[in-house]
Symmetry: C2
Subunit: 153 residues, 2 copies
DNA sequence: TATTGTTATACTCTATAACTATA
DNA sequence: TATAGTTATAGAGTATAACAATA
């Protein structure tokens, strides 16, 4: 392509690279999630709902996922219609609606997680376990800041 | 959030982290690019067109950007209307249309690149130069594979 | 008054198919 | 027949504003 400049090109742009990498992984994940009737977005809501023993408020979902609360409503609606989660009013604050995974939701979450992990591994074949771990840590810091990301070691 | 499971959660998912990180940087980039009448997508086309001395075919643009050729058409249309690039039929193969940056396009590319770099640096304040370089290399391998990404050392 | 959830709307991005022209 | 570009369309993702219920 005969590029001979001493200024950074597009392929040096971390934002561009992140966008390309994200698109690639989202496509791969959506492909396997389709087998469970899901896409990446509703699946991420399902995971958070299933992993929180007491349920998650829609506000918390919006914060963790980086989405507007109005988008959460639609995603929870969709998962509720599929019988994978349910809304339960919070006893402490009736404004809050806690989202919890149903038994069916838990089963789908576990099975889908396996497929997503396989799809992810397929995209990361060139990476050693250490490199993947490194990438994960750098991204966690970028997204959630320097602190602990999820309260887990 | 009382998560006490020994299975990976959403925040351990590299795909999720990439999606969040990408969204964050795209938003930050779009914010500064708006001052130049651009968004990330057309800007990336502008950069590639300006950096290729002989111009880039729309097919090449589609390959590097990971987009369908039909999307390239609209982006080049938009940049052409703004006077930032022009289409020139390839002398070697008249099916090909080479996209080249105009003088105005070169000026915008340079000015916008500065702003984008500042926005990027603002999102990466917690990263050392070495960590940023490391992230860039990992992402380059993920997107373009193990080989050299752009023919540059 | 502030917060949670909801509805509505518009715009951007993404994916696909079908068509033209050149080779 | 194969490839580059184009047109058209539909669906998913994103961004805002306004509103109701509760605190």
């Amino acid at each position: 392509m005969d590029i001979e400049l001493d200024r950074p090109g597009l392929t040096d742009d971390v934002g561009f690279l992140l966008s390309r990498a994200s698109g690639r992984l989202v496509r791969a994940s959506n492909a396997v999630l389709a087998g469970h009737g899901l896409r990446v977005r509703p699946w991420s809501v399902l995971v958070l709902a299933c992993d929180a023993a007491e349920g998650v408020s829609q506000r918390e979902l919006a914060d963790v996922l980086g989405l507007d609360p109005s988008q959460i409503v639609l995603l929870v609606d969709e998962l509720t219609a599929a019988g994978l989660v349910e809304r339960r009013p919070s006893p402490a604050d009736r404004r809050n609606k806690l989202v919890l995974g149903t038994a069916a939701g838990q089963a789908v979450r576990t099975a889908a997680a396996r497929d997503v992990e396989l799809a992810l591994a397929g995209e990361l074949t060139d990476f050693s376990a250490g490199e993947r771990q490194l990438l994960q840590e750098l991204l966690t810091r970028l997204v959630f800041g320097g602190g602990s990301a999820a309260g887990r070691g």
